[in-house]
Symmetry: C5
Subunit: 88 residues, 5 copies
């Protein structure tokens, strides 16, 4: 779980990252409190600043950004869902 | 090891996550004490709120949720067992 | 490195975990002092309570538990050696 | 996200690392503050000392350094972009 | 980055670990200060006690120890270089 807090601009980067929205995300707990340090995640669901999102890392992240061309995709962290609510 | 403490609702998400029960889990030690921060895990064994469960991450998590179609599954954390007891 | 401190019983679990000895392990340093939080690891070398062991995670863990059928094995942490001594 | 703070020289190393610029990087948050401990990352975009960069780990790192020969590449951390700005 | 501080002896272990030098390593920063907890890493470059080394984890570690037979190699942490100097 994380909160989208901004984005990074990077012109000099791996070709596979071109055209991707690279968001700054702050991992959170289900009360919205920050846990661990910020990360950069490629957005795949149209998440906006301030929204709570689902993150995946590693090969799962590449499957989200490159449905069919994971072979050359260097990405290792993706936003794969926007959280509507936490039910506890 | 973790304790199930709730679930998240997410309508805008990767297609591979549709139909999955996405649970909020609190990693614990064998005394039930919380360790590290909460995570979201896809349930594969019918775990309920308050139950202690076994978690796996990465490719193992995808093998649990997508027996036969891991190729497009973005999931990276799954509940794969309900703990009956800790024997120490 | 870890110390075996117990085991977990789980009847409702992923089929690939059936028949496995799921041990509770406490990661340690080479002085035997606890570091980080406890984990569950599948035993593959007959480790007993109180023994110091070698752990591997991820795909390496599946190679240890499922020599020939990693395809359906959800496991992501295995005991792969019993430590006789730490030489420093 | 990380800041490049130096480089390491290593003559006795795995063949797949020969010819690579191995940089010392300090993970940071989006305010440039250090978070977690330093790491070594293979540069793939010409990053210099003092620049803020994007890091990827695991298989993604190998895809960045060995576009076509990941099979023998042992690398597990790569610099894959130079950050121009953090927009929050 | 890590410092080699010793080795472990393990006779009862996964076959793929037989014949490997299993070293105790202390992760460090570029000032040689300890960071995080100790780990066990398979040596692939002839590193000795007291030397600063490059570590890789996961599949990269297996590519270093089993150039041609990663299929059965359970290893998930390898020493892949001896650090001559840190340039900052």
């Amino acid at each position: 779980m994380a909160k989208v807090i901004g984005s990074v601009v990077s012109t000099q980067k791996d070709p596979s990252l071109i055209g991707r929205k690279l968001m700054i995300v702050q991992p959170i707990d289900s009360d919205g409190k920050p846990v661990r340090s910020e990360e950069v995640a490629a957005d795949t669901v149209g998440a906006g600043i301030g929204e709570f999102v689902l993150l995946v890392r590693g090969a799962g992240a590449r499957k989200a950004t490159s449905k069919y061309d994971v072979k050359n995709d260097v990405n290792d962290c993706s936003i794969v869902g926007i959280i509507d609510s936490f039910d506890k």
